[in-house]
Amino acid sequence: MLKDVSFGQYYPVDSFVHRLDPRLKIVFLIAYIVALFVASNFYGLAVCAAVLLFAIICSHVPFGKVFRAVKGVLFLVIFTAVLNIFFYNGDAVYWNAPAVLWEWHFLRVTQAGIVFSVFLVIRLVLLVTCSSMLTYTTTPVSLTDGIESLLTPLKWIRFPVHELALIMSIALRFIPILMDETERIMNAQKARGAMLDSGGLGKRIKAVIPVIMPLLLSALRRADELGDAMDARCYMGGKTRTKYKKLTFTWRDLIVFLLLAAMIAGVVVLRIYLGAPL
């Protein structure tokens, strides 16, 4: 069950996308998310989806892997969509008289609500897919190197950029370890007769406490040991540190940058000329 959570894991193959500058990939993700919400009609979203599909193909990450990342948040997506179908009634600008399809007390399903929900599902799925593509194709270290490099201007106001980047890379590194540990603890509790999968909501929440506590304790112990190991390897903060991997902006990055610009331009143009249901 926990093995399904694949968000934040690196998929080690060599590909065009893997070799891109992590800074570009981070900027790409941010721009992509903005584009998803700028896109106001199906054509705009189709452009975004096509670009992402192209990226997945170029990255050699199997579709099954990508789908697993989406599966992790599927519940959240469906939940949000259902709520929106019932509660969203359309924006007055585009829908002068929202066509009401079904009504019951305060619940009202309109055409606008359905369209909006479908858009929302598409947006969320693309958003999650794009972010998991970032972690699939970028090692945590280069990801944090990228963030560190992008945040460098903040050093001017004495923001601890290096420390933040290190914390993030360690957090990512420990995700699989803590996953395994959670599973082990859950099995240990089940072996002692804990009912983790049955009973009402209240009961289940209570049953989780004996899983969380040992996990928390073990995480603290691990942190302590990791701190010692880092000390022993001469870690003294970021000041005197050098970097083995240097980030370089190459022709690949330029191509992707142009592609990104084209995609955003396309989305904006489609929004202006075709207008939108939303």
Binding site: T139, V141, R173, R222, E225, L226, D228, T242
Partner: protein, 277 residues
């Protein structure tokens, strides 16, 4: 030169009892010393004192003629590396190469030099093919070899293994011991091996037995394992070969006491071929 020298060192975790009591001992450069002791004997504390992770309450410690103190920590840790017990808790990065680079980056080396150090370290532990592998997917023995490489990248003169094989299966243990033995013999790295597996101590040139924060026995592994009653007193299990020897002798086969399987085999052959038995 002495790799490590303890002079009247005491250390307490602050519970009234001493984890290390008035300890005097030294390790020569290039030596391979095993430290034995049951849980709570102070052997891990000893390791942490050697590179300044812990500071002694009394006494002084010198590492390669450098007094261990706040001002020398950096230089001490460059010279003395520690490999810890749990491989998962000492890997900083997700990719082998990045993790090995961590220490070398910390001491501010140039990119080219770090690259060379990674090549050297991964070669020394036989993990060259795994340079770009994900650490999480390696076996315990492989992870621990990466941890050793991470320490080697700092260019240490001495390496402390603090129960580094305790969480590994027999195969992983063998891998690590082979690597350590080779580093000691070929690279001349001083090794302080802290363990409760007696078999591993057989590789050392000298062994120390600790109990209650004090050194209670000192000598070559052979000398130490001959004093069986004493070892039992300090709650240490004998290596398997010693147990086989003593059982054979108890059973009436007069084999010589040995720690070498080859010699034991010859001894047994001699006894069996004697017409008197």
């Amino acid at each position: 030169m002495k790799a490590v020298e303890f002079r009247d060192v005491s250390f307490s975790y602050g519970e009234g009892t001493f984890a290390i009591k008035n300890l005097n001992f030294s390790v020569e450069e290039g030596e391979f010393v095993a430290v034995l002791g049951h849980n709570g004997s102070g052997k891990s504390t000893l390791a942490r004192l050697c590179n300044g992770l812990l500071v002694p309450d009394a006494g002084s410690i010198r590492v390669f003629d450098l007094p261990v103190g706040d001002k020398t920590l950096y230089d001490v840790r460059k010279r003395v590396g520690i490999v810890f017990q749990n491989p998962d808790n000492q890997t900083v990065a997700s990719i082998v190469e990045d993790d090995v680079a961590f220490g070398a980056e910390n001491i501010g080396l140039t990119r080219e030099e770090i690259g060379r150090r990674i090549d050297f370290a991964l070669h020394a532990v036989g993990m060259e093919e795994y340079r770009n592998a994900t650490v999480a997917r390696l076996s315990g023995g492989q992870k621990q070899r990466v941890a050793i490489a991470g320490v080697l990248a700092l260019g240490p003169k001495m390496m402390i293994l603090d129960e580094s094989t305790a969480m590994l299966d027999p195969r992983g243990r063998r891998e690590i011991m082979q690597v350590v033995k080779r580093l000691n013999e070929e690279e001349g790295i001083t090794v302080l091996l802290i363990t409760h597996f007696m078999e591993e101590a057989l590789l050392a040139s000298r062994a120390i037995v600790m109990n209650g924060g004090e050194i209670v026995m000192l000598g070559t592994p052979n000398e130490i394992f001959e004093k069986r009653e004493e070892l039992v007193k300090y709650r240490l299990a004998l290596p398997r070969i010693s147990r086989i020897c003593s059982r054979l002798r108890e059973g009436g086969m007069p084999v010589e006491y040995t720690l070498d399987y080859e010699i034991l085999a010859e001894e047994i052959a001699k006894c069996v071929s004697k017409p008197s038995i």
